[in-house]
């Protein structure tokens, strides 16, 4: 109920309080009796249907749930009068028709109101919302403590101490190595790297690993996936027949490459929002614009509501752009002023005006090649504009095409007037409106209060499992508050100081003591900790985390020795059980009988068919890619267990692992057990574990031999069983 007191009550007519006497008189003598007779029983006296109260002038101006009901001075554009006509939808009053003279009175009254636009004013609470304020020059707490490795730790420790808490001791080296490998490249260390990491006696052994991982091309594959979640990347349209997007992968490769190059984030923003305006001849920047069209589309069954579909698709662009770069849920203002945030209907349509002239194109990769319909030439999925003359944008009351309001120009939400921008008229020779580039420049500006906080928080979230702001795509009034606001500002400033390069910040975070501490829940202070901070928001320990869906699959392939490191190119289509393909004839997913190296590439390269996700990924909470996903769920359901227990994939890979072990360890059960435990879990097994494994191998060998297998076959099968168990263990999918 906290928001039930109407934000709309702050909507005022600019000079409404002093409406001219004729209007006031008309209201008292003409309008009020009509309302009392026909309307107030639903809109005022006992109830306020649709959030609309018609009892007072102020309340009428405030409008209802779906926004204002009238435009002062413009009866024709006023929703209320449209609803009163016999064609009104929904017709008002529901089962009656107002007399013509009654409608005439209302018309006259609305026309007599001063013709000012409705202006939204902002409360101090809104204007001073933490994320809208400039990023502060955060002062690093002056704490002296041996635990502190860099400024991050001072912020963390200060908050912990304020609650009487202490952080965990450092993680074991073996755990930290695994953690930083999965975190930075999404894979475990190779056995050689593992041994080297454990044996390195130099003081900077950890820094060396971090620098090597950040420089590895696999870093882009790992962190690119995080961005692809945000960019709702997929290789098909989703609706109806789920039309393929054969060139979509170029965007995916662009993202991976950009992260590997450590492209300044400002440039990354400009390329994705306006690559065509920035550098129209460059295939890479053109490919980046697919950000604006990665959303679901319904090209094969648009029906007749073309304009509505076009606006729905742009709504996806507006919502995604708003949440991804700014952490503002702009999409909520399409039909009415935002319920929680100071974002108005007008703001939404001004934002629409930035994108309204865009068109989708498939441009040949080689600009010398002329596009031929139906011909398969390497192409780019591009968003651009055909002219520097913008398409007219009108505000739509209640988001309804049939209910257009005044024309609006491009703009960013008025609440950001401090850093607002002009959208200059395009140069005489311009080929596009330049509006998107102007927006991108505004977003990427060092003084944008949101961009750098949002970005720093995303990095933090992926390193620690939870952002400093938990609602990482919502920094508005309805979002969560930051747990460490000063630290967030410090990190945001770091990003700006590094000119938007991410790797220095990654490095600083993973080198911090906060990141390097143990994840152990066991502590003498456990009760105190759980009482003071049950969710570990203050980070007194590193949170234990489940590997993401892709990492589980990649780890299995890595461990079995089958991971094919090939980068880039069109998406791969691994085996999906034929029963699942049968359900839908529209999915031209090939029937794969036996997987080979071409299927065993990293999961970021799997073809994202919106209607047919790879079950293993889907079950482990890979996003549906229909909307931007800022934070994945971590659900635990029995169908996940079924997939890992029974899918051919785990069974096959366990078989490959068995042969790999056999080759290296020979027939000695203890050697086999030790090696397979070490390889599968990137860990040094305990004697008890080895003993269990040896006994298990023995028992399974007997089982298989009694089922008629010869000794060699039984040996492989027993090792397969053991590998399969390891793929299913909690240690395999949870990281310390």
């Amino acid at each position: 109920m906290k928001n039930a007191f109407c934000i709309f009550s702050m909507l005022v007519l600019a000079s409404g309080a002093q409406a001219a006497p004729p209007a006031a008189a008309l209201f008292e003598d003409g309008v009020k009796p009509i309302l009392a007779k026909h309307c107030l029983s639903c809109h005022g006296v006992d109830k306020t249907r649709g959030g609309l109260d018609l009892r007072t002038l102020e309340a009428i101006r405030a409008g209802g749930d779906s926004g204002p009901i009238l435009v002062a001075g413009k009866s024709k554009e006023s929703l209320v009068l449209q609803l009163l006509t016999p064609q009104g939808k929904p017709h008002m009053p529901p089962r009656k028709q107002l007399a013509e003279e009654e409608i005439a009175t209302l018309t006259k009254w609305i026309d007599s109101l001063p013709a000012e636009a409705i202006a939204r004013t902002f409360s101090d609470k809104e204007k001073n919302h933490w994320s809208f304020r400039p990023v502060a020059a955060a002062k690093v707490p002056a704490l002296q403590d041996d635990w502190i490795k860099n400024p991050i730790d001072a912020f963390i420790l200060e908050r912990l101490r304020a609650k009487g808490l202490e952080p965990n001791p450092p993680a074991e080296r073996i755990d930290l190595v695994r953690r930083v490998y999965f975190d930075l490249i999404g894979l475990p260390p190779t056995p050689e790297e593992f041994e080297q990491a454990l044996g390195d006696k130099s003081a900077d052994w950890y820094e060396k690993i971090v620098d090597r991982l950040l420089a590895s091309p696999q870093h882009g594959e790992r962190w690119g996936r995080h961005w692809l979640d945000l960019a709702r990347y997929a290789d098909s349209g989703g609706f109806h027949n789920d039309i393929d997007r054969p060139h979509a992968w170029r965007y995916r490769d662009y993202v991976i490459k950009s992260l590997n190059e450590d492209k300044p984030f400002g440039q990354f923003v400009r390329e994705q929002l306006a690559g065509d305006e920035l550098d129209p001849g460059n295939p890479e920047t053109l490919a980046a614009t697919a950000f604006l069209r990665n959303g679901p589309s319904n090209e094969d069954n648009m029906g007749r509501d073309r304009e509505k579909y076009r606006l729905d698709e742009l709504d996806d662009v507006i919502s995604t752009t708003g949440t991804v770069f700014l952490g503002i849920t702009l999409g909520c203002a399409r039909c009415h002023d935002h319920k929680f945030d100071p974002v108005t209907l007008q703001d939404y349509y001004r934002f629409l005006a930035i994108f309204n002239s865009t068109v989708k194109k498939e441009l040949p990769l080689d600009p010398k090649v002329k596009p031929v319909k139906g011909a398969k030439v390497p192409s780019l999925m591009v968003v651009t504009e055909d002219s520097a003359k913008p398409r007219t944008t009108r505000l739509l009351w209640r988001g309804d095409l049939n209910n257009p309001g005044p024309e609006v120009g491009p703009g960013v939400p008025v609440i950001f007037s401090a850093t607002s921008i002009d959208f200059p008229a395009p140069a005489p020779d311009a080929r596009t409106t330049g509006r998107r580039l102007a927006l991108a420049d505004w977003i990427a500006a060092p003084d944008n209060p949101l961009t750098w906080r949002v970005l720093a928080n995303r990095l933090w979230q992926h390193h620690f499992g939870r952002g400093i702001v938990a609602s990482s795509s919502n920094f508005g009034l309805g979002g969560e508050r930051p747990s460490h606001p000063e630290l967030l500002d410090f990190l945001a400033r770091e990003l700006v100081r590094q000119e938007g390069r991410l790797k220095p910040l990654h490095r600083m975070i993973v080198l911090s003591a906060a990141y390097r501490q143990s994840s152990s829940i066991l502590s003498p202070a456990r009760d105190q900790r759980e009482q003071a901070d049950p969710d570990n928001t203050l980070l007194y320990r590193y949170p234990k985390r489940r590997l993401e869906a892709e990492l589980i699959r990649d780890r299995i392939l890595f461990v079995s020795g089958n991971l094919n490191p090939q980068m880039g190119g069109p998406g791969i289509k691994p085996r999906i059980h034929p029963d699942l393909l049968e359900g839908s004839q529209r999915n031209k997913w090939p029937l794969v009988k036996k997987e080979g190296p071409e299927h065993w590439r990293r999961s970021v390269y799997i073809y994202t068919k919106r209607q047919l996700q790879l079950p293993l990924l889907e079950l482990f909470d890979a996003p549906t890619s229909t909307q931007s996903c800022s934070r994945r769920d971590v659900s635990t359901v029995p169908t996940q267990a079924l997939a890992l227990m029974n899918d051919d994939f785990t069974q096959d890979q366990a078989g490959y692992l068995a042969r790999r072990i056999l080759k290296q360890a020979g027939n000695d059960p203890t050697k086999q057990a030790t090696l397979i435990l070490e390889v599968a879990l990137s860990d040094k097994p305990t004697a008890a574990r080895i003993k269990d494994a040896v006994a298990f191998l023995e028992e399974q060998r007997r089982l298989h031999q009694s089922a008629g297998k010869n000794a060699d076959e039984a040996g492989v099968l027993a090792l397969t069983d053991l590998g399969h168990v390891l793929f299913n263990t909690n240690e395999f999918v949870y990281l310390d």
Binding site: N298, D312, D316, L522, D621, T626, V637, L642, M645, Q700
Partner: protein, 470 residues
């Protein structure tokens, strides 16, 4: 839950692979993990009328004016342009003009209530007094994709959780050994939008619909892969259990780890229970006949209806059962020939649906089950081409039956041509709100926080149709 009986049951069923009966660990862990199990039963907002829903989805769009909404005016206007027609409503622009097409079917006054039901639904006609026919449905799109999304999720755009996901999210599932939201497809394949139709959208994947097959292995990956024996699997699971328990002991109180151990127990039991649930062949001959399994035409949908009853008996929350698959004539999408199309699809579904209603009633299950029949939209009263009908969103019929629903009732009306819903119009959110209400959920209070906003199935609208409720 009474732990003792649960333990006894576990021992008796022999379906557990751990040594929990000895150590009593599962119970302790299950309790510790309970808040993390997204499918654990949750109390409704108020006393529900029903526990389960069977949604009989006539994919493609069944024609209301040929099934539940007779329009004598179409006889009179046959071949003539009707005044209410609006060119922008046609989906097949060049084929659908404004000329009325009379129904090829007679209607029978059925039951004591005398509800009009098409002659091609003779068996269903006998259940008329259980039906509450809504003749004034309308939706926002007359294209399959968006209209399907709206009927499932309330929104014409992709990416929202479907109603089955909302219910499993809101109420959990009664039977942990089976999924809470099951989808049964037509033998022709999935509808357009595919798996996005039963997607959990921005909710966790555990709430999405699980497609079940009525023959063979009911769920994907239910049983060990070929070449892996049950004995071998059990041995693997025992070692897994031991190591996972040791790992948990070193990390006591990590509820995620405990929950994952419990999920393997559930999965293992699901193997037995899901296979048992789909064992339709165990049903007596007369029951199978009641569902039309003795006739090639109705056998497939009949199997799914019978399976739906078995799932309801076993506590599955939401079952979506598609009639019609793929596209065009293989669905109820009668663009070319309304008679040929509806002759077939009515024959495929008549005995199965009537059998389902009667069987549920006989077992006392109809009181605790809501049955919904309908498609993503209706069909035009005007002709497409010569004898087909186009998509129509402005007025069409659905019906409800079961617990808390008045039987033998007609609600709302379209105009004399069956074009616009004019009397007591019912929107998709109204239908969803009513459905949630019957399950004891207030649609304005069932929310899921997505991107910082508490989102509802019914978004900002929807009214419970109290006048339909018994």
């Amino acid at each position: 839950m009474n732990l003792f009986t649960r333990r006894q049951w576990l021992q008796a069923s022999g379906a557990s692979f751990g040594m929990l009966a000895l150590r009593g660990l599962l119970e302790a862990e299950a309790l510790a993990a309970a808040p993390r199990n997204p499918l654990a039963p949750k109390p409704p907002h108020f006393t529900p009328k029903v526990k389960s829903v069977i949604f009989l989805f006539m994919y493609g769009g069944p024609s209301h004016v040929d099934t539940f909404d007779p329009k004598p005016a179409l006889d009179k206007w046959d071949g003539k342009t009707i005044p209410v027609f609006r060119a922008e409503d046609a989906s097949m622009v060049n084929r659908t003009k404004g000329k009325a097409l009379r129904s090829p079917y007679q209607f029978n006054k059925c039951g004591k209530s005398g509800i009009d039901i098409t002659e091609v639904y003779p068996e269903l006609g006998k259940c008329a007094d259980d039906l509450c026919v809504i003749r004034s449905m309308h939706c926002e799109s007359n294209n399959h994709g968006p209209a399907l999304f709206q009927m499932q999720s309330g929104f014409v755009q992709a990416g929202r959780p479907s109603i089955g996901s909302w219910l499993t999210y809101g109420l959990g599932t009664e039977n942990q050994n089976l999924p809470g939201f099951v989808v049964l497809l037509d033998h022709q394949g999935a509808p357009v939008n595919g798996a996005l139709n039963w997607s959990s959208g921005f909710m966790p994947a555990g709430y999405q619909g699980v497609p079940f097959r009525s023959s063979g292995e009911p769920i994907a990956s239910l049983n060990p892969p070929s070449g892996v024996s049950k004995e071998q699997q059990l041995a693997r699971l025992k070692l897994l259990r031991k190591w996972n328990e040791e790992h948990l002991a070193a990390n006591p109180g990590e509820s995620a780890l405990a929950a994952r151990i419990a999920s393997y127990e559930l999965a293992y039991r699901m193997q037995t229970h899901a296979s048992e649930a789909v064992a339709i062949d165990k049903e007596p001959e007369w029951v199978r006949r009641q569902y039309g399994l003795d006739d090639k035409v109705s056998a497939h949908f009949g199997r799914n209806c019978l399976l739906a009853r078995r799932l309801v008996e076993r506590g599955v929350r939401f079952i979506q059962l598609y009639s019609g698959g793929n596209e065009g004539p293989r669905a109820w999408d009668a663009h070319d020939d309304i008679k040929k199309n509806h002759d077939l699809h009515c024959a495929e579904t008549d005995r199965p649906i009537a059998g389902l209603l009667k069987d549920l009633k006989a077992r006392g299950l109809l009181d605790s089950t809501l049955v919904i029949w309908g498609g993503e939209f209706g069909r035009t009263p005007v002709a497409e081409g010569g004898k087909g009908r186009d998509h129509h969103a402005r007025g069409f019929s659905v019906w409800l039956a079961g617990g808390g629903i008045k039987g033998g009732v007609v609600h709302g009306a379209t105009d004399e041509f069956g074009y616009h819903a004019i009397e007591n119009p019912v929107s998709v959110p109204d239908l969803h709100a009513t459905c949630l209400h019957l399950l004891g959920l207030d649609h304005t209070k069932l929310t899921y926080n997505f991107q910082g906003r508490d989102v509802r199935l019914t978004d900002v609208s929807g009214n419970v149709l109290h006048s339909l409720l018994a």
